[in-house]
Amino acid sequence: MSLLPFVQWLANTPGSTALHESVYAYPLVESAHVLTLCIFLGLAVMFDLRLLGITLTTVPMSQLKQRLGPWMTAGFIVMVITGAMLFYAIPVRSYQSVWFRTKAVALVLAGLNAFVFHRTIDRRIEEWDRDPVPPRAARRAGARSLVLWTVIVVCGRMIAYNWFDCDKQPQPRIVNALAGCVVPPEEGR
């Protein structure tokens, strides 16, 4: 199933056009998206590094969760709202971007990783709360999170570049397939 008709409809809504063509609103939203990275990702990195037993080793894990959790949540909410607005401003191109799609997959995986962490090793946090180096399952969750967020940030930045855009044909067949480009068969390489 393709979401193309939906994003095409989205692109034609007045709000999308207004945001896309705005002189200040779009850059402001994008700046907010990038700078909130410092709040959400910055603290998430510290959290993951603590899970790996690399920093804040004397701080109990539960304290980190309790004290930094609300800031991370707040930052995340701002990132999601501003991110959705950025998508809303440029729906079709974003939807057909290999970078955006990779980012979306990595986001889902990061969410899954966090979910599994909370459902498993985090349930027994009192057993390892004060351990300078948390158990292997926790360290793995931290490492996976760092890798996934690196992918998310890099892909997010790359969305701005048009190397693999659908309107830049010919593209390798794999790019057209991954991006969901609609191209006549003879144009695909």
Binding site: V23, Y24, P27, E30, S31, V34, L35, L37, C38, I39, L41, G42, L43, A44, V45, M46, L49, T55, L56, T58, V59, Q63, L64, R67, L68, W71, W149, T150, V153, V154, R157, M158, Y161, W163
Partner: protein, 158 residues
């Protein structure tokens, strides 16, 4: 006054190589952005603590000592990648107001972070009045915000 330096910068091999490459700028920019995340966390963790927020059950000194290596290492990555990004388009930067906002903020932020802020954070429990800790945190956050916002705005042509 600095224009000749910026002009010379543009003629260097490094500058040309980055400017000519279709992907070099994007890759360096991504590294710059990843380091931004780390520096953001390192700065914020201590500034929140100075404000009496975040890790407030921990002594300020503890948070400062844990955050410091991450501040220094991410700052190094930021500076190296930042110089590379700058070198690929020095003339654009020279005429960019956000660039100069960023440079002045950066200079002040770095001086502040390694002098007053560090001294205050390591002073030990009760040696500095809480209100001054808060002032230090707000100055720090304001300066680093100037660096980040200026940096992002170099890329916009408004």
């Amino acid at each position: 006054m600095l224009l000749p330096f910026f002009r010379w910068m543009e003629t260097t091999t490094m500058s040309q190589a980055i400017a000519m490459s279709p992907w070099a700028f994007a890759v360096i920019e991504s590294m710059h952005l990843l380091a931004l995340g780390v520096i953001g966390g390192a700065v914020l963790m201590l500034d929140l603590r100075l404000l009496g927020l975040g890790l407030r059950d921990q002594p300020v000194e503890r948070v400062a000592r844990d955050a410091h290596p991450w501040l220094v290492s991410s700052l190094i990555v930021m500076l190296v990648t930042g110089v590379l990004l700058f070198s690929s388009e020095p003339i654009k930067c020279y005429y960019s107001i956000p660039f100069w906002v960023k440079m002045w903020s950066l200079l002040l932020a770095m001086i502040f972070a390694f002098t007053i802020r560090r001294k205050v954070a390591l002073a030990g429990e009760g040696r500095v009045k809480p209100v001054w800790l808060k002032v230090v945190a707000i100055v720090s956050l304001t300066l680093w915000f100037g660096v980040g916002a200026g940096g992002r705005w170099i890329g916009f042509s408004v």
